[in-house]
Structures are given as C-alpha cells and as structure tokens.
C-alpha cells in the first residue's frame, strides 16, 4: 500500500516537460517492458490453460480413432482406440451427406450448417433493427424513461434456459401464443413454425443487448450537432440517416458482430425449446449429439465449427474495421 502511494507520488514528481519525460521513458523502458511481461504473464498462462489447451486437445483428438469406432472383440468389449486416423472424421462430416442414411449424424451436417446460418442471418437482422429502435426510444427524454429502460433490459437479464422454457410453455398447442393469435399452430411440430419459435425467442432475449450497445453509442453524440442540423433545416429523417446512423455505426457494427458470433454457436435455446427437432439442429447441438456416441468424431465437428466461426469473425472484423476507420475519417473531414 505504502509502496503504491510512494510510486504514484514519484511518478507525479517525474512529470516535467515533454522532452524530459521522453528521455526518462527511454531509460526506464527496459525495466518497464520486463514489468509488463510479468504483469501479462498470468493472463497469458491462464488463457493458454483454459482456451489454448482445450482447443489443441480437441484438434489432436479429432485425428485419433474413437474407441466406439474401434469395433468389438470376441467378449463384446470395445477394442482400444487412439491410433491416428487422419481426416477420417472430417471426411465423415463433409462427405457423408448422401452416403449416410437419413437419421445418422453425418446426414444432418449440411442441414445443421444451413440452419445455423439461417438463424444467424434472420435473428441478427431483426435484432439490429429492433435494437436500434429501442435505443432511440431509451435515448429520448420523456416521463417514465427509467421505467422503459428497465423494462427493455429485463429479457437480457433472464437466463437463456429459463427463457427457453418460458417460450416452450407459451408455444404449446394450448399455450398463450395460440390463444392470443387465435390460431391452432403446432409450433414445435413442423419445420418453419419451430424455426420461427426459436427465432422469436432469441430476438426477444437478445435485442436488449444490441439496444444497450447502441444506446452507449448514441450518448456520445454531442447535442450541438443536432442543433446545428436543425438550424440548417434538416428534417427528422435526414438527421437520423445523415447524422445519427453514421455516428452510431461503429457501436452498431460491434454489437452486430458480437451477436453474429454468438448465434453461430447457439446451443441452449433451440436445445431446450425444440430439442433440435424439425430442422432446428444447429452445429453445436449436433456436436453434443455426436459426443454421446463418438467423442473423437464430435471433436472433429467442434473443430470445424470453431474454424467456421473464426473465419466468419476474421472476415467481418476486416470489413468492419475498414468501415469504422472510413466513417471516422469522413466525420473528421465534415
């Protein structure tokens, strides 16, 4: 404690003219670098242990033969697996398609890819639009604003498992949704109703997340900009599209990126709501299904999913970051 305050005082004393500071920094840099190394080492070690090790372990496992695929010996015991089989499991997932009979996990791979992508595209579009609207509402000053803000955030605060169960009850044939709509749709009994059930529940739950990030973006836009725009005679629509949207775009893109990566690995909501039936099996659900019978094959699928999400993230970050820079440059020029 005393050492810490001593150092702070010392640093304050050191602060002289910029030139002096620069000279001092050069002298201290080797020591600082070493300190910095020690400071980040625990984090790096922890990340290596909880992220690096499992990822590498999964990749290694995906190249080895599973015990459950090693065949039975005369006494009915599984022979030992573990020998390297190369891309056996990867080709099972990619090339199985028509060769594997309906009902096997290999047959479900490509449908699971398309289901995952469909969920991602539709939910993120809805969430971005609704989230932006919600943020605009939360941003305005009016009576009862704090109540509206709290109400909008409630779905985000509810655990996903609870959300899924809640919507499962509401989507039952005699549930509240059919009662309100006056319909007799068996929501979890066929393909598109089941998919819409998942999409509606996911949008309901995570729109507040986007709204929250967009709201943060809105709050840093200075009011003077709007005032001068008004003076210049810009209509409300012009102000939204030429002012609000470009300025909030960086926050919006980050929020959308987070959501895209999140939905690509979605598991809990469809797993509880529909059990993966009626083409709502996502890549993560398929991986867990496969884990039950063949862990090494499931490791291969997890690796494929990981690489897929990684590539999508990489591409989006590249596109988005360029945009972010351009937006800022344009704003500065204007």
């Amino acid at each position: 404690m005393t050492a810490a305050t001593g150092q702070v005082a010392e640093q304050a004393e050191r602060a002289g003219s910029p030139r002096q500071r620069r000279r001092r920094r050069a002298r201290a840099s080797r020591g600082d670098a070493r300190l910095a190394l020690w400071l980040i080492l625990p984090t790096v070690a922890l990340l290596a242990a909880v992220i690096g090790y499992p990822v590498i372990y999964a990749v290694v496992q995906s190249l080895k033969l599973d015990k459950a695929d090693a065949g039975l010996d005369a006494t009915g015991f599984f022979q030992s697996g573990g020998k390297y089989v190369g891309s056996k499991y990867y080709s099972y997932w990619f090339n199985c398609g028509s060769k594997c009979p309906n009902g096997t996990t290999g047959h479900e791979f490509w449908p699971a890819v398309s289901t995952t992508v469909i969920f991602t595209v539709i939910t993120v579009i809805f969430e971005v639009v609704l989230g932006t609207v919600m943020a605009l509402v939360m941003h305005r000053a009016f009576r009862g604003r704090s109540l509206v803000r709290a109400a909008i955030l409630v779905p985000w605060a509810i655990p996903t498992a609870v959300t899924a169960l809640m919507w499962k009850y509401m989507f039952q044939p005699h549930g509240v949704i059919n009662a309100v709509l006056g319909t007799h749709i068996i929501w979890t009994g066929s393909e598109w109703p089941a998919r819409w059930a998942v999409i509606i529940a996911d949008v309901w739950k995570t729109t507040p997340f986007i709204a929250l990030l967009v709201l943060a973006g809105l709050q840093v836009i200075p009011d003077e900009l709007y005032e001068s725009a008004k003076v210049d005679g810009a209509s409300a629509w012009q102000r939204f599209f030429s002012l609000t949207l470009p300025l909030v775009k960086p926050a919006l893109l980050v929020a959308a990126l987070f959501r895209i990566l999140d939905v690509l690995r979605i598991y809990d909501l469809p797993a509880i709501l529909t059990g993966g039936a009626n083409n709502t099996t996502t890549l993560s659900i398929l991986a867990v299904d496969e884990l039950r019978s063949s862990p090494n094959s499931a490791a291969a699928l997890s690796t494929i999913t990981f690489v897929f999400i990684f590539v999508v993230a990489f591409i989006l970050v590249r596109i988005f970051s360029v945009n972010v820079v351009q937006t800022q440059a344009r704003t500065v020029k204007a």
């Binding site: 020690w38 695929d69 015991f77 009979p101 009902g103 044939p173 039950r292």
Partner: protein, 424 residues
C-alpha cells in the same frame, strides 16, 4: 521493485498449483491398478442416480445405514434429464473417478457401459442370485452372456382407457380404432409419446413388436425392420395422425404432456408408464379419477408387447469399496428395499413375489396388468451402439409421423442406419 517481486511470487504460486493438480490426476491413474483379487474392500459408498423426484432415496438410505453403520451410503443426485445423467456418468468413468461407487444405469445404457469396461461383471466373486427376479429385467442387465448390473426397478407400458366410455379395453388395433367412435366431442382418441426423443423409440418399437415385427434379430445387432409386420406396426401410428385418431398436437407429446391430455379428460386412450396411475387416481385436478381402467397394450392380432424400461444398479470399475457396493446391489434386489421403492416411488418391482402379494395388489391395482406387460416385454436393442440406433429410429419415425417420409422409406433408412452404427 516491490511489484515485480509480488508478481514473481504470484506466478510461482500459480505454477505450483497447476503442477500440483496435474500430479494428483496422474496419481489417480497409477492407483487404480492396485486393487483386484477377491471381492474388493469395504467402506462407505456413494450411490449415484438421477434426480429423486419421488423421494425414494432418504428411506432407502435409512434402511441400509441402519444395518451398515460403518459402510454408510451417501446418495448423490444428478439432473432429471436422462441424456444429461448418461453424459455425467460417462465423464466420471472417463476420469476414473473413485467417488462413484454404485451407479444407476438405465436399461438402454447397460450394454454401452459394459462394452467400455466401466462396470464390474457380476460373476465369480461378484456373482449374485437372480432366481427370484423377473426374467426380462435380468436379460436387460446382461450383455454378451454376462450379468453386469442388478435390476433395481422395471417398467412396462400400459394402456389407460376410459372405462366410462369403453367398458372393456380393446386388445387389438382394429378394436381400438373402432372404439374411437364412442368418444365424446372434442376428445382425442389415442395418445402416446410422439415427440422426437427416446420416448418415440419406445412407442415405435412397441408398435413394431406388437405387430409381430422386430427391430433387431436375436443377435442384438442385425436390423430386421424391412418386413411387412414392422410396416403394419408403424402404419398404426402413421395412420393415426393421417386419419385423426391421434391428435395432431400429439407430435409434441412427451410423457407429461400426454398424461395431462388424458388427465384433463381430453383423450380416450393413453399409452404410458405405471407412474401415471397414482396421478390419475389421486391428483386434485384429475377429471378421470374413477373413470379409468388399466389394460395391457393392444397389438395387431391380439394383446401387444411392451418395451422394457427401468434401471439397473451397477458397480463402477473404479470404486474403492467394491465389496460393500456388491452388498448394496444385493440389498436393492431384496424384498424390503423393493417394497420401499414400490410404496414410496411407485417403481415397478423386479421381484416376482411382489406381483402376487395381496396387500400390494390392494394398494396398486395395476400390478397384475403390469406383470403381464413386463413378462412379455421386449427390450430395446441391447447394443453398445445404442445412442446411434435410437437416433436413427427417432429421426425416421418422426418424419414418417409428420408425413414427410413414407413408412417404407423410414424403415429402409432405419435398416441402413442400424447397420452403419454397428460397423462404425
């Protein structure tokens, strides 16, 4: 300087902890080869099973602990989801965890766990006497000719029917469909479990077996579903949805939803397990209290065949107190323990004698019917590849029920799927 020293200490501590954990896990691995010979050691044991929804664990533990003060049993509960219970057991077996001594194994997992050598075979020093038990449950605990677990409770499907509307229960599918005319308006006729999950495999295999078909041949792995008998069995369910004697919404039913439909007076027939009996007879909101009867399942040309449910207790290969665990297995198959399971939890006994006990029959009117059901029951395929087998059955039957796949195509896929499952 102070900071740096602190960091060094922190890193050193972290590294030591990491090393210590890795050491202890390797110790566990080397330790397990130490046991062996005789029936193992004695000491306190832990029994693991799914969530105890019916409150059987406290009385069972009390009954055992009274006579075994030095080898007390600790009850450990998993979740109430069967899939998660299976995964939890697999993880603990893979970690060679000695803290799971006795595990409750669903009949359909027994073969898989036995083939992976996680269960102690009950032979030689570990042999148990099963002569007083029903044959079906013992067969379901046997893999490749060796008994691997002690049957704890059994289960068989029953047909619940509205005796106020149909005085005598139908014994064939044709009779059942004809009886549908007697239902009141707004009521569904037949109800079962048709959502895409394990319960659908039970319902589908019952329909196939009840029509004289079979899913696998006697060797337990060669599929045999591309037959006329299997087709007519599946047709009974598929036509139910087509012709309307099964309600459209039944495609979402698991056990509880189907019970709810019958209990609220919205279905005339219900295929379900014995646990439903007490709900129908005693629940406050039951609208069918004195209006329902219990019968064996119907079939194509006479009484049908139930699938076999239930749980077995097995000793983990990694238990340190196997001798005590063995005694616990013998205890759970004994009269006093079986009575507790039936009286407290309504679990179907595995002892033959329980089914002819007049006191029990007076209390549980369905026992004679249940005995018939279990006696003729056919287990679901006893195979170490069960997860793949049930997945292919569930998926194809579900699509057939929805009408997006013909019955012939579904059976063809199941045939191919089971063949592929066994060949890796």
């Amino acid at each position: 300087m102070q900071y740096r020293r602190l960091m060094v200490v922190a890193v050193a501590v972290l590294t030591t902890v990491a090393l210590a954990t890795s050491c202890s896990s390797s110790k566990k691995k080397s330790g397990e080869s130490g046991s062996g010979g005789g029936a193992g050691d004695r000491g306190p044991i832990t029994m693991v099973q799914g969530k105890d929804t019916s409150g059987i664990l406290p009385p069972i533990a009390a009954l055992w602990n009274k006579d075994h003060p030095n080898e007390k049993v600790t009850m450990r509960q998993q979740t109430d989801q069967a899939d998660q219970q299976h995964d939890d057991l697999v993880q603990h077996f893979q970690a060679k965890d000695p803290s799971y001594d006795v595990v409750s194994v669903d009949v359909i997992w027994t073969a898989e766990f036995a083939a992976k050598q996680w269960l102690v075979p009950l032979k030689g020093d570990f042999a148990v006497d099963t002569s007083a038990l029903l044959a079906g449950p013992v067969k379901a605990a046997t893999y490749a000719g060796t008994l691997y677990a002690a049957p704890e409770s059994s289960d068989g499907g029953l047909l619940y029917y509205r005796k106020d509307l149909v005085p005598t229960a139908p014994t064939t599918y044709a009779e059942l469909i004809a009886d549908c005319a007697k239902k009141t308006a707004g009521m569904a006729c037949y109800s079962g479990q048709f959502a895409k999950y394990e319960g659908l495999t039970c319902n589908a295999s019952e329909a196939i077996n009840s029509s004289g078909g079979q899913i696998v041949k006697d060797d337990g792995k060669t599929p045999d579903v591309e037959t006329a008998a299997a087709k007519s069995g599946l047709d009974f369910l598929v036509n139910g949805f087509k012709q309307g004697y099964i309600a459209k919404e039944a495609i979402t039913y698991q056990e509880e939803e189907s019970r709810e439909a019958f209990q609220s007076g919205n279905a005339m027939f219900l295929r379900n397990w014995p646990y439903v009996y007490n709900h129908l007879a005693q629940d406050k909101d039951s609208k069918v209290k004195d209006k329902f009867g219990v019968a064996p399942l119907p079939g194509l040309n006479g009484p049908g065949t139930s699938t076999l449910g239930g749980h077995n207790f097995a000793i983990s290969q990694y238990s340190k107190h196997k001798a005590t665990a063995l005694d616990f297995l013998k205890f759970i198959m004994s009269g006093p323990a079986q009575n507790v399971l039936l009286n407290v939890g309504s679990l179907a006994p595995v002892l033959k004698a329980s089914y002819s006990d007049p006191a029990l029959i007076a209390k549980f009117g369905y026992l004679p019917t249940l005995e018939k059901s279990i006696d003729t029951a056919i287990p679901r395929p006893v195979t170490p590849f069960y997860p793949k087998v049930t997945q292919t059955i569930e998926t194809n039957v579900y699509q057939a029920l929805q009408g997006s796949l013909s019955v012939d195509a579904a059976l063809k896929n199941i045939q191919a799927g089971i063949t592929q499952a066994a060949n890796g």
